[in-house]
């Protein structure tokens, strides 16, 4: 149940996009239509769910003082994390291409983009800062990815509709997307009152 709490918290209460502004670049660039947003969202869930446990293993087994090398190598963290993310994205791209060419063509362009999606590296850094254990890091990765997925689908749906509204010309497009994200952020803040541990405490 502890894992469930972490998942809910990462997805709704501490949403990576709306509470921490992570992954804003691709969030704004790829949210013009729901279909592409859906594809990118799925890819992000996938990559976050994979890289998080791998980066956990790296930081615990290689970089920490109790690791294989027996010394504090945390200054190498950034380089190793980003290398893992870049190679994982490459790997995912290759696997998807082999297993499901249809999914690959629909995701194709967005997969390499994920390397520079701040949400992925940010998730790994948060995981280290919050000292999650191995299973918790998986739950956090999936939850964070799911939250990102929800946010990009929501903004894409709103942007598809708002194209027919009478927005001031100078505010059209990006300006409006910013303000919408702000409003969504406030809406998500109302979820802050939820205490996931209280939901499960009664059982």
């Amino acid at each position: 149940m502890e894992l469930f709490n972490i998942f809910i918290k990462a997805a709704f209460i501490e949403n990576l996009v709306l509470a921490y502004f992570l992954g804003m670049c691709s969030y704004l660039a790829v949210s013009k239509t729901v279909t592409t947003a859906f594809g990118l969202g799925l890819a992000v869930i996938f990559v976050l769910g994979i890289t998080m446990p791998i980066n956990w293993l790296i930081s615990e087994l290689l970089l920490s003082e109790n690791g294989i090398f027996g010394m504090d190598l945390t200054f190498l963290r950034f380089i190793l994390f980003i290398a893992v993310i870049a190679s994982m994205v490459q790997l995912v791209e290759m696997i998807v291409e082999k297993v499901s060419p249809a999914l690959y063509t629909s995701l194709g362009i967005f997969l390499p983009l994920i390397t520079v999606n701040c949400a992925i590296l940010g998730g790994s850094l948060f995981m280290v800062a919050r000292e999650y254990n191995f299973t918790e890091s998986i739950a956090f990765g999936l939850g964070g990815g799911f939250g990102w997925f929800l946010a990009i689908i929501a903004i894409a749906a709103i942007r598809e509709k708002i194209r027919y509204s009478n927005v001031p010309p100078a505010l059209r497009g990006l300006g409006m997307a910013f303000i919408l994200t702000g409003l969504m952020g406030i809406a998500f803040m109302s979820l802050m009152g939820i205490d996931p541990s209280a939901l499960t405490a009664g059982k």
């Binding site: 992570l22 200054f75 701040c118 010309p169 497009g173 300006g175 997307a177 702000g182």
Partner: protein, 248 residues
């Protein structure tokens, strides 16, 4: 550092061009307005908006980004002809990650409170799209000195927006400027930045007493306020430059 300066001057002297001519000036100043990284290119919003609730960390963040952006452009441009095309992303990321590690360790040594406050956002400069974006778009195809100036210009253009947003948010959200730094100024409302946004006590001294009745605006402390302010900045800029309006 001395080595790199030598290389850049050598290149420019060979070309018989002024070290800082018109082209360089354009590279440096354009990102402040017409090609601003945040309001026009909309790159690099990810890593830094959350730090803009106070001015002091934003200034530190801006300096860090200018440093990383400038020097990563310089180094990438120096090795640009030796990088195979397939692995260029990895090479660029390693260069950026190394520079960010330098920034992180420097901050940790010389300003620990700020290091704690910025926490993961320092590391996130690596995935700041503006750094990668400039490397891909400019540094991979241009000479080191130009690339360096371009990187600096974009870093500054980014930092300026960061600081504008932070000034607005801090004044209205906490009633102070530069809270946490040695030169903290109390502008309006409460004088204590710590209790500032919860209870509005009358200001004790300084300019603050003029507006002692002001209640701090909690909205400005929320992350959402940064989105609104940037949205409004984009609105203002595009009202005066209708050519920048996007059609979709």
């Amino acid at each position: 550092m001395a080595e790199t300066t030598a290389t850049t001057t050598e290149v420019t002297v060979k070309e018989k061009e002024p070290l800082f001519g018109k082209a360089e000036k354009k590279l440096l100043l354009d990102p402040l307005g017409d090609t601003n990284p945040i309001t026009i290119q909309v790159l690099g919003i990810c890593s830094a908006l959350a730090v803009t609730s106070l001015v002091y960390p934003s200034v530190v963040m801006a300096i860090a980004v200018v440093f990383v952006c400038g020097f990563s452009s310089l180094f990438t441009s120096l090795v640009r002809n030796k990088i195979p095309k397939q692995v260029r992303m990895i090479v660029q990321l390693v260069i950026i990650a190394t520079l960010v590690t330098i920034v992180e360790l420097t901050l940790k040594r010389f300003n620990y409170p700020i290091y704690k406050q910025l926490s993961v956002y320092i590391g996130l400069i690596i995935t700041n799209c503006i750094v990668m974006g400039r490397l891909e778009a400019y540094a991979m195809a241009n000479r080191p000195w130009r690339a360096f100036v371009d990187g600096l210009g974009n870093g500054v253009g980014y930092g300026v927006i960061l600081i504008i947003v932070a000034v607005i948010r801090e004044i209205f959200g906490k009633g102070t400027l530069f809270a946490g730094s040695p030169i903290q100024i109390n502008i309006i409302g409460a004088s204590n930045a710590e209790v500032g946004y919860l209870i509005n006590t009358a200001a004790e001294s300084g300019i603050g007493s003029l507006f002692a009745g002001y209640t701090n605006n909690n909205l400005m402390v929320l992350p959402a306020a940064a989105m609104f302010i940037i949205g409004i900045l984009i609105w203002i800029q595009r009202t005066y430059r209708p050519t920048l309006v996007d059609v979709s």
